[in-house]
């Protein structure tokens, strides 16, 4: 029973609208009639207005009838999506509590490591944390593959229900869930479609390429960019025609992705044009009798294919290029050319090894654009011995130690740590090198035990003492994420209440300790998760 019948009088006022309609039938109607009968004699005449009192008493009764007579609405008024088929669920549920502790730390690297380990152990996220994980994936794109890998059938079903989780959507097929790669291509999320295309490229590069090219028009620029990246697998000269077509894409990102792949093909027309451009600027004198002397003369103008070949860079700011002094056009063009040329070309063209080339470039009038160009080239064409040579021998005001940190991902782990180790003992105030350790360590990898042990000692020495470096304190927990788990003991046993631990350092150290505890016990709960 609703109160609608009383609202007109209640709103207008019983002084103006005293009459109430007849209400209800049977016993209910009889009660309302009784309430609306003139008041009993005990009510004083100077008491409250009778009509108002009557209305309030009727409302009181109606309230009770409404509550007592509550009837749920018909279920057809609400939608219930089909439940997922859990019978094919292969992944066991991970325990809730340790996973909640991981998520509570809010550290992407740690979260990725834990989720990837769970996926390897065929564990899925249990129901109570699924929403948190999907929200996390919505906020942090880099974590999405790791989250998807542990959703399980239940999580994939949940992702179907909320538009904010569309990135994980479409995987709620069970599995029996994915009966064919075609289904994944047709219905999967971008991450899944890219993974599917990557797998197909490994099996049949042409089929994958043809699939992509046939559906270009239906794809968004973001989709095209990601899927073009999948062609990197099994890349060969047979991909050149398709990639050349893609360099004509109307959006910038897909064009750049296609150009990046073409530049990986030494025999592609694009690479040949680059080589020709470079050959025009890197020339030598002598050679027959006298020793060759190489010199660099930057281009004085661009050519008609410059932009299409991905060489049109906007006027860069010093901060962006890492340069201390702004460059002129010619220097910028030179740097651009060098950045888009495979480092191997230099060895082929000059006959010099990387170390010698770097030392030669150091003495050149165009040292900065060449060195900075090589720095960028190595990010596109990572080549370990080149990265080491540039790191160890590159000079110039632009190649600061911080800038050189960009070379670390191109090196092997052993080379990286060999670069770092001498610096570790002489860090002084340069705690920003710790950022380099973090940046240089790919997610999912840890530092070697040989490097981790002295690193932990240095970390604690510089963080915990009265002269603790504030910059280091902020990165402490991230550093703990990359330390070899076997070397975490000094952090775990650190006495946070020691006299030399300052209050400002205590919170950071406590968080580092918490992360260390999680990493050191990871194997325990992943291996001991209950079987499904």
């Amino acid at each position: 029973m609703s109160l609608d019948a009383f609202l007109p009088s209640a709103l207008l006022g019983t002084a103006r609208a005293p009459t109430l309609p007849a209400l209800g039938e049977g016993a209910v109607g009889a009660l309302f009639s009784k309430l609306q009968t003139p008041k009993e004699a005990s009510t004083p005449t100077e008491g409250p207005p009778a009509a108002a009192l009557t209305l309030l008493r009727c409302v009181a009764a109606a309230n009770l009838f409404a509550r007592a007579g509550f009837v749920p609405i018909g279920a057809e008024s609400t939608d219930l999506p089909p439940a997922p088929d859990l019978s094919g669920e292969r992944q066991r549920a991970a325990p809730i509590s340790p996973l909640e502790s991981v998520l509570a730390e809010q550290m992407p690297r740690l979260t990725a490591e834990v989720l990837d380990r769970m996926a390897q152990a065929r564990l899925r996220a249990p129901g109570p944390v699924l929403r948190s994980l999907l929200d996390l994936g919505s906020r942090q794109q880099a974590l999405r593959p790791s989250v998807i890998a542990v959703l399980g059938a239940r999580g994939r079903w949940l992702a179907e229900q909320h538009e904010a989780w569309a990135w994980a959507k479409g995987s709620a097929l069970n599995g029996k869930e994915r009966e064919s790669e075609q289904e994944q291509w047709d219905f999967g999320s971008l991450v899944q479609r890219t993974a599917m295309l990557t797998r197909e490229r490994a099996r049949d590069p042409q089929a994958a390429r043809d699939r992509l090219m046939s559906e270009l028009k239906e794809l968004t620029p973001e989709d095209r960019t990601a899927l073009i990246g999948a062609l990197r697998i099994g890349l060969s000269h047979e991909d050149e025609p398709a990639l050349v077509t893609l360099t004509g894409d109307r959006a910038r990102e897909p064009r750049e992705a296609a150009v990046a792949l073409l530049s990986l093909l030494p025999e592609s027309q694009l690479s040949k044009r680059m080589a020709a451009r470079m050959a025009a600027v890197v020339t030598h004198t002598g050679g027959l009798i006298r020793k060759k002397t190489w010199s660099i003369e930057p281009p004085s103008q661009t050519d008609e294919d410059w932009s299409r070949d991905g060489l049109s860079t906007p006027k860069a700011s010093p901060q962006k290029t890492g340069q201390v002094n702004a460059m002129g056009d010619r220097a910028r063009w030179l740097m651009d050319l060098v950045a888009h040329t495979q480092p191997a070309w230099w060895e082929q063209h000059t006959g010099m090894q990387p170390q010698a080339l770097v030392q030669w470039a150091n003495d050149s009038d165009w040292a900065e654009p060449v060195l900075m160009g090589w720095l960028s080239a190595l990010e596109t064409f990572p080549t370990a011995h080149w990265a080491k040579a540039l790191h160890d021998h590159g000079k110039g005001s632009a190649l600061t130690p911080v800038v050189k940190l960009r070379l670390l991902p191109s090196m092997t782990k052993a080379e990286r740590e060999a670069c770092w180790l001498p610096r570790l003992q002489n860090i002084g105030r340069h705690t920003d090198i710790f950022h380099g350790f973090i940046q240089g360590c790919p997610i999912g990898e840890s530092l070697s035990a040989e490097f981790s042990a002295p690193l932990v000692q240095v970390m604690l020495k510089h963080a915990a003492g009265p002269n603790g470096h504030y910059g280091l304190l902020h990165t402490l927990a991230d550093l703990v994420c990359i330390v070899d788990p076997k070397c975490l003991a000094p952090i775990l046993t650190l006495n946070l209440d020691a006299e030399d631990v300052t209050p400002s350092a205590r919170d950071f150290l406590a968080k580092a300790q918490s992360v260390a505890r999680i990493r050191s016990t990871l194997s325990d709960w992943i291996l001991t998760a209950d079987p499904a």
Binding site: L7, A52, S77, L130, W157
Partner: protein
């Protein structure tokens, strides 16, 4: 009893307490003072002063009781939590030896108090003269309070009728001040629940399209209470106690222990809802259902100033104890009359949804002042409806009813849930479109889930609902 670290953390009042406690788990803080026996754990924690704080935990009951000499008003304090965390993770630091006097004196005095209380209750139950003497004293105070309430009721009725006489359409923010003044008047008249109801109604004036209905509902309920106060002598005893409770009149727990029906059972803890109230008051509602008797009970506690609650109820577990119900026309609220022990028991079962609604109606018919009912459902499925940018959550009971002849038993019905957005998604994740068991508080229009049990485990809904995202 030894607690795990997780169960210790569960007892913390807030995250700040947990964080502070973890900072005190360094053994150097406690020195050689750590010890335990079967019934107690203790230690002396060095603080900023010269004397360490003496912290102790009584482990002899079903849930631990904490005591500390520090000045913290939180309960348990960070020292108590740290002590138990140390015990959970590092028992080797604790020595088993005789309790120091400051531990044994406290625990012995607790046992003595509990014993005396029990004896007092038994005495009053068995000695009519003693019971009558005790009752007479309280009757005089009670009568005085009723007189004040009755005076307040007279003023309230006049106020309500004046509002209706003039019409609600003319109400605005200015008139809301008059409502607040009347609310204060009700508190003075020792009917604080009326005051709260008027404040809430005043807050609804001109808020949202349904405000006239909401305000009118509140006014009708207040009028019902006013009429009940006037006719209280004609009410049965149980219903008069219900009326007292609806006025915000704090009920004496001894009343339940002396006069209340006692029910021994293994009680499933199916809900624990903590809400902040006005004036720094925290209310906790613990819902229980008897595994054998099927009886339902509400344990209502209040704490002040951010302190926690002394008794811990293990959500989703079963405790064996005796409850004493407060006298009522529909006994629901109860107190613990015997020490609790955690036991294993058969899972709770529920009636059909149709019978649940009938029982809720029955409760209201017996006690029209009741506000909340515990509802239990099995084989229900949560579902979501996205409407106007908000999530609305429903609980579907598809084909769960076998009884015929009732609208509520028609196959496929949906109940509106009162739940925050994140909680709604957590519930959906736990169910994943499959039926689960759910317990919740029903307020006459919406169901607030308290626990949900599925193949993924137990999901508990505690604490504050963000009303901006709820429903």
């Amino acid at each position: 009893m030894k607690l795990s670290a997780a169960s210790v953390i569960e007892r913390a009042t807030d995250d700040a307490s947990v964080k502070a406690a973890k900072g005190l788990t360094s053994p150097s803080k406690w020195g050689a003072s750590l010890g335990f026996t079967d019934r107690a754990t203790w230690g002396a924690c060095q603080g900023s002063g010269s004397k360490p704080y003496q912290t102790q935990v009584d482990l002899s009951g079903a849930s631990p009781s904490f005591k500390c000499s520090c000045p913290s008003r939180k309960f348990p304090c960070k020292h108590g939590l740290a002590l138990m965390l140390l015990r959970a993770d590092n028992e080797g630091l604790f020595k088993t030896h005789d309790e120091p006097s400051w531990v044994s004196e406290w625990i012995d005095s607790r046992k003595e108090k509990a014993q005396k209380k029990q004896e007092q209750v038994e005495l009053l139950a068995s000695d009519p003269v003693a019971a009558a003497t005790a009752a007479a004293g309280s009757t005089k105070r009670e009568q005085g309070r009723w007189r004040r309430i009755e005076t307040g009721a007279h003023d309230l009725e006049r106020f309500l009728c004046d509002q209706i006489d003039r019409g609600l359409a003319g109400l605005g923010r200015e008139q809301a001040d008059a409502w607040l003044k009347m609310a204060a008047r009700m508190v003075d008249a020792q009917a604080p629940a009326w005051g709260l109801a008027l404040q809430r109604a005043a807050a609804n004036i001109n808020q949202g399209p349904d405000w006239p209905t909401q305000v009118l509902q509140a006014m009708g309920q207040l009028q019902l209470n006013v009429d009940a106060v006037r006719h209280r002598d004609a009410l049965p005893d149980g219903l008069r106690h219900d009326l007292q409770a609806s006025l915000g009149w704090a009920l004496d727990k001894d009343l339940a222990l002396r006069q209340g029906e006692r029910v021994a059972d293994d009680w499933w803890v199916v809900g624990s809802v903590v809400e902040e109230r006005e004036n720094n008051l925290t209310e906790r509602r613990v819902w229980l259902v008897g595994a054998q008797t099927g009886r339902r009970a509400l344990i209502l506690d209040h704490s002040h100033g951010g302190r926690g609650f002394e008794v811990f109820w293990p959500l989703g577990r079963c405790v064996r104890t005796v409850l004493a119900y407060f006298p009522s026309a529909w006994p629901q609220r109860a107190v613990v009359a015997k020490e609790m022990t955690v036991v294993e028991a058969e899972p709770w079962t529920a009636r059909t949804p149709a019978l649940e609604w009938e029982a809720a109606a029955e409760q209201l018919a017996h006690n029209p002042f009741s506000v909340l009912s515990l509802m239990l459902f099995t084989n229900v499925t949560p579902t979501r409806e996205a409407a106007q940018g908000k999530d609305r959550w429903w609980l579907r009971a598809d084909g769960a009813d076998a009884s015929a002849g009732s609208e509520a038993s028609a196959p496929g019905s949906a109940i509106p849930l009162r739940i925050g957005k994140d909680q709604g998604w957590d519930l959906l994740a736990n169910a994943a479109g499959l039926p689960l068991k759910l317990a919740g508080e029903w307020n006459g229009t919406t169901l607030r889930p308290t626990t949900a049990l599925s193949a993924e485990g137990l999901l508990a809904f505690e604490g504050h609902i963000d009303e901006r995202s709820a429903r």
